[in-house]
Symmetry: C2
């Protein structure tokens, strides 16, 4: 044996999530293959084996499956029926088609989870503007309207402030829209949970998330919520993991309101909200994802430090790459820089910074200072 082989994992997608999974795979002695059309994708740059191809072409998925022991995913671009077909042809797929389809289809997820007592804001599927108007008049304006699948980082999500906007909502849009009452919340949480083939689950502490323009800007823990909300968030995340028959890691995004917790979104894969697990927990979300899909024992998910914070680094509006000038960020003591080697298009996530610390204030301030050092650095 030339390797101490635990297995080879195939990832559909080669972005930063696959890149950080590759780092975790190195620790475990696991090989990673990534299916992506992009030879310069972040995971390929990090040295994962590149299988060129598309997430929605079955022949390409088959080529990925042929070179690994289990197929997993880092995004929602693969039609679940293709995952189902892979599984039927004898390939291991984790998370399975059911979990993946619920991660991809917000309406389906709500319909499946609601009967089991997973609370959401009032919602409906509207096929035309009349149905939208009726729903808005019933639950109150504004409404939050979402494409049922395909949106992320605020794309595919927008607000409607009344009947006039509702009448224009379907312009250029094919198919129904998911409409929700815009509820007022005090906090947004993301709870990372991992579940194995055998149904064992481990849940990370709830992470508080701060969105800017619909995109995750900052994540920190401990979340500034009550002990009751903390407990209920963990309970809901574990319940959802079982209901979707998760294998791997998922993010359960929640609103904290005066009346309790409401489900916001699911991401059935490692998630931006969980990056701080790399530094703050004994087992990162990426390592636990690999352990789960390979059928290995799950790792500990507790917080090992008093506090941790993460801030995303995004491409500047002037097209400049903040990461070209790392030095000022590295000079901030205890800031940990993660650079994805992506081209710095405006608003695109190209890296993140994590800081741990003795207090939440200190961790947040360290991460913010390093992020700000990058964005104010003068290009050479």
């Amino acid at each position: 044996m030339a390797s101490g082989v635990t297995g080879t994992v195939g990832v559909i997608g080669g972005g930063q999530l696959a890149r950080m999974a590759h780092q975790a795979a190195i620790d475990l002695g696991v090989d990673l293959c990534v299916l992506t059309p992009d030879a310069d994708a972040p995971a390929v740059r990090a040295g994962a084996r590149h299988i060129p191809g598309s997430a929605d072409r079955y022949e390409d998925l088959l080529r990925l499956a042929a070179c690994c022991d289990v197929v997993t995913l880092e995004h929602e671009l693969t039609p679940p029926e293709l995952l189902e077909r892979l599984a039927q042809e004898g390939h291991r797929v984790a998370p399975g088609a059911r979990a993946a389809s619920l991660g991809r289809d917000k309406a389906k997820a709500r319909a499946v989870l609601a009967p089991h007592g997973v609370p959401t804001a009032p919602w409906t599927m509207a096929s035309d503007s009349r149905e939208l108007e009726a729903f808005g008049d019933e639950v109150g304006w504004p409404l939050v309207v979402k494409r049922p699948s395909g949106g992320y980082d605020g794309r595919g999500v927008w607000d409607l402030h009344g009947q006039e906007e509702a009448r224009a909502a379907f312009e250029g849009i094919d198919g129904p829209l998911l409409a929700e009452a815009r509820i007022s919340f005090t906090h947004e949480l993301a709870v990372m949970v991992v579940r194995g083939h055998d149904g064992e689950t481990r849940v990370y502490p709830p992470f508080e998330t701060v969105q800017v323009d619909g995109q995750c800007h900052e994540v920190f823990t401990p979340a500034s919520v009550s002990a009751d909300a903390d407990r209920e968030a963990r309970r809901l995340a574990v319940a959802v993991a079982h209901l979707v028959e998760l294998v791997g890691v998922m993010a359960v995004e929640l609103f904290v309101t005066a009346d309790g917790l409401l489900l916001n979104e699911l991401a059935v894969r490692p998630h931006n909200s969980g990056h701080l697990t790399i530094e703050a927990c004994p087992t990162s979300q990426f390592e636990n994802h690999l352990r789960a899909v390979l059928g290995l024992p799950l790792g500990a998910t507790d917080l090992e430090v008093p506090a941790a914070a993460m801030v995303n680094v995004v491409g500047s509006m002037d097209g400049r790459d903040p990461l070209e000038h790392l030095a000022p960020a590295l000079a901030v003591p205890r800031a940990r820089v993660h650079a994805y080697q992506k081209s710095a298009r405006p608003g695109r996530k190209i890296g993140h910074i994590t800081a741990t610390g003795p207090t939440l204030d200190e961790a947040r301030s360290t991460a913010a200072r390093a992020a700000s050092a990058l964005s104010t650095a003068v290009p050479a």
Copy 2:
């Protein structure tokens, strides 16, 4: 720019040190090239770019230098004159030829450091057995005899218990031997220190090392030495870093004796003793090595956890690969497994386990339990 490029680092060698440096390089958005004849070397398996070739062939070193911004090393196999020549031809080499030559030649290091007050056990260079006998009679038997360069993990080091053994010492050996009085010590320490191009240094807390048969078995921190010894160990490491004109990370190995500290060995590169910096410190030895050789700001080196311990995983005497069966080790809560994807020859280091914990006892016990789970796992 397609990448947020900080630079490309070329490593002479592709073993586990280069493998872990590659993981750190991914965080920084740095590309790593490794020069090794072995297409299955641990760093190549992890995805570092492979430059096939030998550490002691100048043409191969030139090919490495051509594809990177700075050349560094993970072992002592390159003749320092070749590094010198690379530098003279305009390639950046870090650590430089002086530091590398002192890391390679134990006698030269002692001769250079002694005048600056770096204490060692009484030593001599003996060209024949008569000189060995005279030295043994002077300082007392047994002597520890070492090849001046090329030895590691207990190879190239042996004891002589008297005149009879001294007379046989040069059989089959060409050139002089370094002989030392075998001193009695209470502890062995390794102090990792990093120094930048500008002479800035950062020192990690002293790590206590436990050798079995001359090979590092366990490393832990805090070391069980007095505050005075701790302080003096850090002071000596920093002094040595300046004296050898280090750029990068080095290990300064020390004996703690009733009469104070004595220098044992230098390793002018990342080192097995420093693996626990990955989990226990804000900046790992690997990331700090990359930062130093690239001229980036150095990172914090303090201990972030109350205690940490590392145990090496070596190939079993029956040739079995303990890492083929990871599950029992991963089931030990809070044990972090690092698998190198090396073939498991008896006694060869093929991985390591690190544990952090609230107390030293707990960290050591967690690491030892996980290591023992691997070595007692039943092969499938």
